[in-house]
Symmetry: C2
Subunit: 95 residues, 2 copies
Amino acid sequence: MSDPLGLVFGALADPSRRQVIGYLSERGTATATELTGELPMTRQAVSKHLAALAGAGLVAAERRGRETRYRLTETGEEWDGRLDALRAHLERRHT
Amino acid sequence: MSDPLGLVFGALADPSRRQVIGYLSERGTATATELTGELPMTRQAVSKHLAALAGAGLVAAERRGRETRYRLTETGEEWDGRLDALRAHLERRHT
DNA sequence: GTAACGTGCAACTCGTCAGTTGCCTGAGTT
DNA sequence: AACTCAGGCAACTGACGAGTTGCACGTTAC
């Protein structure tokens, strides 16, 4: 779609995807099946979320043998750092 | 939905809405009908976008007589300031 | 070689969202 | 009072996104 900003904001708009970012930040790396244990949905759904995050450039996939490990990109790490600050910022502003 | 962060990112994910933020930043204030002249859509559509932005707390509505004037909130201005930087940031990273 | 595991792909349902049109209401105007 | 202009509300269409199920393919283990 050639709307990089839209892809990033669109990816971050979904709570499940922000959660995935949090998990990846804690563990450094994970596969879709591993993440499925943490989210109330099927592996396929998680996989689609990871694809969206990858499309936005927040996450990178690396296939190793029969499994695909995902990790945060530099951009993804930056956003993970901002998320808590933004959350607090919004709480403060609109309460 | 009580997902403030989701509302903000969701609002910013749409190019038309980011454009509205830009216009409001330039002119300070505008009505839905005025903005309709700048966007390839009907007044109703613009009005819905403004409602989304207002729901995310990026824009505030003030009714004055028979017209409703919209302006950026403090949060909205902050995001307007960040958008260009983010755009440039992404260009640099993924080209 | 065969069985099991991790993944990817395709088709489908369901809900939401962008955008439209049509109508109705309230605030100025003459 | 009659008219006009700006907005809001409701119903509808079309597209997209989230999530599911079923199946097929490559990789590791036995």
